[in-house]
Amino acid sequence: MKHTSATGAAAGSLKSYITGFILSVILTTVAFGAVMSEALSHGATVVTIFSAAVLQILVHLHYFLHLNSSSEARWNILAMIFTVLIMALFVGGSIWIMHNLNIRMM
């Protein structure tokens, strides 16, 4: 195990930071480009925005925060999965309920 861990977290290498940075720039440019160029249909643009966002978040987690399948990171990932579940309930549930309400009030 490299660069452990008196400080409590595994650190990346120069290569991982540069890779993460380049991938993030590409994904950001793709998302902004898709909207600003207006080259795609509405639906395809929405799909591009959200795919680029999810991919970029994964890139950040992997290359900048160094989450991986190692045993030290396991509890971090478990906590994150639980949080994502809560977030999905929060955001998805709110949109669902309020959308429904909106339709019924019309």
């Binding site: 409590g8 650190a11 990346g12 930071y17 720039v25 902004f32 925005i49 900048f64 809560i86 955001v91």
Partner: protein, 204 residues
């Protein structure tokens, strides 16, 4: 952390006995970040629900300049990368380099905040403040909460630069720097969601 690893830092064993291991502190800080994420998800949910509540006021497409937001995004991303470089310099034990990279991280973050304040100030000056519509209330709340996080990260970073200067790279200072970098990368992740949902979807 295994006993063998703590053994390598026997001189700091007392510090760890007082404060718990840095690994536990790091995990605790991670749990804070996750709870912060829950806070953000509540604000995102509010924004999503109110994202069409213009009340006759301006829409996102009329308000936002995407090339401005793109530069903001690049500043924050560069800042995140510079923060990573500071951590690498920390592992190399190079105080001067750590300070240089932290200073760069700080300036890029400050640039981001300055652009955001400029945008807010302009919106309010044009009469598109948070009181104009529910949509703009939600916009200012979401983007402003992220901005407040970045601003407090800047204060923390200034404190850490002072500590690196006065205490050097003591083990506790290193542990704090690790948590600061977690916070900084975390804010960049939240910003990815903000520019995708608020600005890109808003203009679309």
């Amino acid at each position: 952390m295994t006993p063998a690893q703590t053994g390598a830092h026997a001189d700091t064993a007392e510090v760890f006995e007082e404060h718990g291991t840095a690994g536990h502190q790091s995990f605790g800080f991670w749990l804070y970040l996750m709870s912060d994420l829950v806070l953000f998800s509540a604000i995102f949910a509010t924004f999503a629900v109110l994202s069409k509540a213009y009340a006759g006021g301006p829409t996102g497409a009329e308000l936002f300049d995407l090339s401005f937001v793109f530069i903001e995004t690049m500043l924050l991303l560069l800042s995140s990368a510079a923060c990573g470089m500071a951590i690498l310099a920390m592992h190399a034990g190079n105080n001067g380099r750590v300070l240089q990279w932290l200073a760069l991280t700080f300036l890029l973050g400050l640039g981001f905040i300055a652009m955001e304040l400029h945008e807010f100030q302009q919106l309010i000056a044009e009469g598109h403040g948070p009181g104009r519509s529910a949509y703009l209330s939600a916009f200012f709340t979401l983007v402003g909460t992220h901005g407040l996080h970045v601003a407090s990260g800047l204060v923390w970073m200034a404190v850490m630069m002072y500590q690196v200067k006065t205490k050097g790279l003591a083990v506790m200072v290193q542990a704090r720097l690790m948590r600061l970098s977690m916070f900084w990368h975390f804010l960049d992740i939240v910003w990815v969601a903000v520019f995708s949902v608020v600005y890109l979807m808003g203009v679309l």
